[in-house]
């Protein structure tokens, strides 16, 4: 084989017989990953410094007298690495046996079981049996404050948690106390992690079951969970997440890496605010109000036919209120339906709070708008109204005498006669709030967790989410309901998929026309040319 001649920017490295060119300065561990070799490691995490202390990533490098930790130091040109040599395997097997000397092996009651790096590595490379017959060290359990519980005996002392709080959260709340085998992670003060909204990230990065979430404690086994890529709906940052569900119940949210948005992290506010996705007081069938004022369940076909008929004869223009938790596709479809019946003003209401920046990755913050798609709502021409608590501001809508649409907003604060003046009141939503009782048509819509669609985050990044739980009863995505309705009152075709619905958004906001569904990928894409909207709403 001819010797590759690397340019100054790349170096040639051979990992387990595979030679590849990598950029100069590439971490050895990353070079191995590029060669398809996953070198076991605990202390190293790509979002933090590498202390090289777990000694799990020891590999053999030719001409190096000792085994080399792959997590520190970059590759040099011509480096020949053996990750599976007898020496390297023996060293790593040794390290794993050392971990097991004091590990309680309480996997049957450990929340991490099934997604535990100690289990994974021991089963991959560890000894068949530990030889230790000595009594194990017992330290017990500690409440670290916030959502975090610490099982000291399971800890592998990788210090990721300490370094996360020091380097990323930049709020030193944890430290290693004592030394040697008596060393243990501890908090400085009684309040521990309480008050730091980034603290639950240490549960994610803990490679074992030492740091667990109180919220998730003993709730589900890792292997029973279904994991679906999604976007956190709880602020306009749009952290990439996984919705982890069991039996159509959302069990927890976990961050999903996106270097442009949230790196590896997410905040506790977003993470723990998921119970609303599991609400059972849902509208399960389309309801049509009869002459006596009762809501009568009806098939989708009959409902939408009647609604289309009613819309064709409607006068007085349209008004709408949308929830900023709705997807771009639903908002766009509503805007098109409104245009078809004469157009009109739309508003949205969004709860707002303080912005909390993650100091070690300042691109990421808990944003002021505590809903995923406030930016999308603005882009589709809905105006912000109401107070910072997400209520009020509906006076002009209440007085409207034409067609009134509500999309997703539960109207919990609206007076009992809300919409009573409207000639036609269409409520598309998840929950039958008091004000929705005046609606002529009540159309059951899915939450974002039950459908496919996109949100537009504060960076104008359009990001996809996928259905994670089944929709209750006859609930359908709003883009489908409104898309089919639009087809009934206009020449437009009905969208069959979220991609179809997305493709029509360009008709409402031309910028969306420049983004192809296929380009969104798993990490989204930024809308072109809408910078002028950057600071609206503040």
């Amino acid at each position: 084989m001819a010797e590759p001649t690397p340019t100054p920017e790349t170096v040639s490295v051979t990992v387990d017989g595979m030679t590849l060119d990598v950029p100069k300065g590439t971490r050895l561990l990353d070079a191995c990953a590029q060669a398809g070799v996953d070198v076991p490691h605990y202390c190293y995490h790509p979002g933090m410094s590498a202390p090289a202390q777990c000694r799990m990533c020891l590999v053999e490098v030719e001409k190096s007298p000792k085994l080399v930790p792959a997590c520190v130091g970059s590759v040099t040109d011509g480096m020949v690495v053996h990750t599976q040599s007898e020496n390297a395997l023996r060293a790593r097997e040794g390290v794993l046996e050392f971990y097991l000397v004091n590990h309680p092996l309480d996997c049957p009651v450990c929340d991490q079981s099934g997604e535990c790096k100690l289990q994974d590595y021991v089963s991959a490379e560890g000894p068949a049996m530990g030889r230790s017959r000595e009594p194990k060290r017992v330290l017990g359990r500690d409440d670290f404050g916030g959502d975090v519980l610490f099982y000291a005996d399971r800890c592998v002392m990788c210090t990721r948690c300490v370094r996360f709080m020091r380097e990323v959260a930049q709020d030193e709340r944890l430290t290693v106390v004592q030394r040697g085998h008596r060393a243990v992670i501890d908090t400085f003060y009684d309040e521990g992690l309480t008050g730091n909204i980034w603290a639950d990230n240490i549960v994610d990065i803990c490679p074992v079951g030492a740091l667990v979430s109180k919220d998730f404690l003993h709730k589900a086994r890792a292997w029973d969970l279904d994991r679906v890529p999604s976007v956190c709906p709880n602020c306009s940052m749009g952290c990439n997440i996984r919705l982890e569900t069991r039996d159509d119940q959302v069990m927890r949210l976990k961050p999903r890496p996106n270097p442009e948005v949230n790196a590896h992290w997410m905040c506790d506010f977003g993470r723990l605010n998921y119970n609303w996705m599991n609400r059972v007081d849902r509208i399960e069938a389309p309801l049509v109000r009869d002459a006596s004022g009762r809501h009568v369940p009806m098939s989708w076909a009959d409902t939408l036919t009647r609604l289309a008929d009613a819309l064709r004869g409607a006068a007085g223009g349209a008004r709408a209120v949308v929830s900023p938790f709705e997807a771009n596709e639903g908002m766009g479809a509503l805007r098109r339906v409104m245009e078809a019946v004469g157009g009109g003003e739309g508003v949205f209401r969004c709860e707002r709070g303080e912005e909390v920046v993650l100091p070690g990755f300042p691109e990421l913050a808990l944003r002021r708008d505590r809903a995923a798609n406030a930016v999308g709502a603005e882009l589709f021409g809905f105006a912000r109204t109401g107070g910072a608590d997400g209520t009020g501001g509906l006076e002009s809508l209440a007085a409207h005498t034409g067609v009134l649409f509500v999309l997703g907003d539960e109207l919990g604060d609206a007076p009992a006669d809300f919409g009573a003046n409207a000639s036609l009141f269409v409520y598309v939503g998840q929950h039958l709030g008091p004000a929705a009782r005046n609606a002529h048509f009540v159309l059951p819509a899915t939450t974002f967790a039950e459908m496919e669609g996109t949100f537009t985050n504060i960076q104008r990044r359009v990001q996809r989410f996928w259905p994670a739980v089944r929709a209750p009863g006859m609930a359908r995505p709003a883009w489908q309901i409104l898309g089919v309705l639009l087809a009934g009152i206009s020449e437009a075709g009905a969208p069959g998929t979220a991609a179809d619905a997305f493709a029509t958004l360009g008709a409402v906001r031309p910028e969306f026309g420049q983004l192809a569904w296929a380009d969104l990928g798993a990490n989204g894409a930024v809308l072109p040319g809408v910078r002028e909207l950057q600071e609206t709403g503040d």
């Binding site: 202390p51 090289a52 202390q53 777990c54 000694r55 799990m56 020891l58 000792k66 085994l67 930790p69 520190v72 130091g73 023996r90 060293a91 040794g94 390290v95 046996e97 050392f98 971990y99 000397v101 004091n102 030889r131 230790s132 017959r133 000595e134 009594p135 060290r137 592998v156 002392m157 290693v176 004592q178 030394r179 040697g180 085998h181 008596r182 060393a183």
Partner: protein, 432 residues
């Protein structure tokens, strides 16, 4: 016999004034010829100072034996805004070692001179002396001496009219073995946990406060001052070709006259133990000797006909280390001694690296069980295997240090282990 024991076979260079209270005071030290080496050094070019020490072949006396002049020559060129530091390692934490303590107790001004010479050589304006936490008296004596030296103009601005500023800060540790490891020491000095750093970068590039730093042992610095004053050839009159000069050896255990002895490197080890130190007080034969501190492999009585120098010790499969000799007579059960050492290392492991944190504690538990008579021969195989997995796999060499006595004791004193197991069987302690 009054302290310190002296023996005619000794060559007194750096320990000449041990036991002389006059040497502790500035006036006394000046009368004994003190502060001349420092004046000599400051009159030379910095590079010249480094070259003399390099030419002398002086090797670091802290244990690793790295050539001192070479270490100084690794310091980068001084850049503006990037201070250099000299750090004197006076942590002396290796079990069995007590030479630096005596150097500081009796000749504190010699260390001040050594620090000034070293600091001058590496273009540092600030030297730190990191003293082990338990060395109360030594630290007091040093503090007093530094105060005197400042008052006399030997420290501070424009030292001795040379135009150079050199400050010394005395830093007292909290008593951790690992803070004798140079990068653990630097972390501790900076107020961090005393945990060794991943190297590279080495201290010469990023040391104290991430600035270029040379870390030198007390004895090395004191010897270096003498060498700069008297010349490299003067120092080369002692020792062997590669192990030059004299060295302080700290002797403890079963000898009639324990203490510090300064002999030229290459001195016959058997003669040293039997003649200089007087052999065992009980008259029993010697069973085992640890030649260089608790972290080096143990020698048997048959292996003592070697020179006390770096090369001969290495050839015998052990290390000169920091020159702390621990002698055990035939009444000793080596297992108990090894258990005690491993216990020490388990206690002193900083806890960063898994093989050390878990390995030292595990080995210590096994050894305790064996000591109680509840061991089995396969425990020895386990110990050897653990030791191998602890050696050469960690950030610093603490776990290697813990493994060395385990391995050498099982290799050379297996009968001691088996005797405990048999005794346990007889006493009905068998099984696990």
């Amino acid at each position: 016999m009054a302290y310190p024991y002296r023996h005619p076979a000794e060559t007194l260079v750096i320990s000449e004034h041990f036991g002389n209270p006059e040497a502790r005071t500035l006036k006394g030290w000046e009368a004994l010829g003190g502060y001349k080496p420092m004046r000599t050094a400051l009159g030379l070019d910095r590079a010249e100072v480094v070259n003399i020490v390099k030419a002398s072949g002086l090797r670091g006396r802290g244990g690793a034996g790295f050539p001192t002049g070479m270490k100084w020559s690794f310091m980068p060129k001084k850049e503006p805004g990037k201070p250099h530091f000299l750090v004197c390692n006076a942590d002396e934490s290796e079990p069995g070692t007590f030479k630096d303590r005596e150097l500081m107790r009796w000749t504190p001004h010699a260390l001040i001179e050594g620090c000034v010479v070293g600091a001058y050589a590496i273009n540092a304006e600030h030297a730190y002396i990191y003293v082990r936490g338990e060395f109360f008296e030594a630290a007091q004596v040093m503090a007093r001496a530094i105060e005197e030296a400042y008052a006399a103009g030997y420290l501070g601005k424009n030292v001795m009219g040379s135009g150079h500023d050199i400050d010394i800060t005395l830093h007292i540790g909290a008593g951790a073995y690992i803070c004798g490891e140079e990068t653990g020491l630097l972390n501790s000095l900076e107020g961090r946990r005393g945990e060794p750093r991943v190297k590279p970068p080495y201290p010469a590039i990023a040391g104290a406060f991430r600035y270029p730093t040379a870390v030198n042992n007390v004895e090395s610095l004191i010897a270096a001052a003498h060498i700069v004053h008297h010349g490299a050839d003067w120092y080369k009159q002692w020792g062997t070709e590669k192990s030059v000069g004299t060295k302080l050896f700290c002797v403890s255990g079963h000898v009639k006259r324990p203490g510090n002895y300064e002999v030229p490197l290459g001195f016959n080890f058997r003669e040293f133990i039997y003649d200089v130190c007087g052999g065992t007080p009980s008259g029993k034969p010697i069973k085992a000797v640890i030649p260089g501190g608790s972290s080096v492999p143990i020698l048997t009585a048959d292996e003592l006909d070697i020179g006390m120098d770096y090369e001969s010790m290495a050839a015998a499969g052990t290390m000169l280390g920091c020159g702390s000799v621990i002698v055990m007579d035939s009444g000793t059960n080596v297992v108990k001694q090894v258990r005690r050492m491993v216990d020490f290392y388990a206690h002193e492991s900083c806890g960063q690296c898994t093989p050390c944190r878990e390995g030292t504690a595990w080995a210590s538990k096994i050894l305790k069980r064996v000591e109680r008579g509840r061991g089995t021969p396969d425990d020895l195989d386990t110990l050897l295997d653990i030791s191998d997995k602890m050696s050469g796999k960690t950030i610093c060499v603490l776990s290697d240090a813990a493994a060395a006595p385990i391995v050498s004791s099982i290799q050379k004193f297996r009968d001691d282990y088996l005797a405990l197991m048999d005794a346990g069987q007889l006493a009905g302690a068998g099984g696990r």
